[in-house]
Subunit: 264 residues, 2 copies
Amino acid sequence: MSDRPIGIFDSGIGGMSVLKELRRLLPGEDFIYLGDTARLPYGTKSLQTIAKYSEQVCHKLLEYDVKAIVIACHSASSSFLNFPFELSVPIFNVVTPSCEQAALYGSPMGVIGTRATTEGGVYQKELTRLGIDMKIYSQACPLLVPLVEEAWEDDPLTNLIVYRYLAPLEKLGLKSLVLGCTHFPMLSSSIDRVFQKQVPLIEPGLALAKTLKLKQGDNFQLSKRIDSGQLRILTTDISPLFQDLSHRIMSGIEIPEPELINLN
Amino acid sequence: MSDRPIGIFDSGIGGMSVLKELRRLLPGEDFIYLGDTARLPYGTKSLQTIAKYSEQVCHKLLEYDVKAIVIACHSASSSFLNFPFELSVPIFNVVTPSCEQAALYGSPMGVIGTRATTEGGVYQKELTRLGIDMKIYSQACPLLVPLVEEAWEDDPLTNLIVYRYLAPLEKLGLKSLVLGCTHFPMLSSSIDRVFQKQVPLIEPGLALAKTLKLKQGDNFQLSKRIDSGQLRILTTDISPLFQDLSHRIMSGIEIPEPELINLN
């Protein structure tokens, strides 16, 4: 059982930032990554619609005999925590580990993400569910996703836009800031600049890898292999951005060609 | 027959810029607007996937007894011209009328739009099909859509980004520039600034309204009514942006509440 693959999904390609950290920290695991590129992004859609899409994606991943599913998309994680559904395997999301890690740094925490993530109030609800008493400030930053997709991470215009979004947070004495969207780790140097590197940035992929190690039990075991984990990539559309964006996110690490699948 | 509604569709809310012009110029017509907000945007997806979505949308509009369908989305128009499908009513797109209008201004013409629109080369193909010999320059401007959705039309940052995209076109002696994305008419003052108002901007909604008047015949007739045309709005998701964006695009004109429908 422990050598079965872990399924991981995102609305598109950005979730590879989470995949990258998981592969680095769990190099013996096989992963099947599913990017729902035919319906991306999820972040502008309602939580109900995202829940419907997520459930379709999870059922598709079960066909590949995955032992667990990681929701790498923050909007889908938000939706799942609001509208959970039952599966035959454990489901992990990126919101819970980020909250747990932010708690270690103390109050207040900051969260940046898409509208679906920040306006859904999911981090506040998750802190409450976890019994963590923390003040939270959040900011929707919808333009940061297309900026990364344009490969403008190092462009001065990007610094200006990041500053526009984050300057109001800079005065609030944040103890940590959750990069609550898969694309945002690509902008960490620009974000660090706003906070003069005084606020720790929480990368959900890292937080999640720790959670996977800790949450092993009767229904979920990591592989005993120490390396050579395999990767398959499935997408629901041929995305013209795939090659460029996936290579930038994976820092040039070799990845297989995506296999086109159909969800509806 | 002539009093049946005209169906008009877009991947989302932006197509209301076309609807607005059609209602202004054809005030006696009933319109049914369908925004496929559950799968927006189309502009980042493959032409094949867009074709599949467009055909589903058109079949849904036929259930409302429309007499014709207007594809207000440029990406969907591009896809349709590459992968046409048959329907029982006439289909109009936004690319053909823009090419015809650009021809009146002469060569070269410019086109700005999403990647799906500019990289598909559809304007060049359409000019060829129409027998118009013109040089064409195009530029994908993916960031302009989220800028409009953030309501940053009048922000200095928007001017900087518009300038970044359009400066290379400014030196090419364009005789006209097609605003080849539904959101772009909202940025026309910023775009005009780059070209010092020396290049006429082609708004596809206007060009299309003229086409509808000209293309009447046995299978398509405009209404004989002179005003009081009705409007229904259908969307595939409850979009948190709907109220704000639709009001800005429609310049505050009263519009009905959207009705939620399901396409798959």
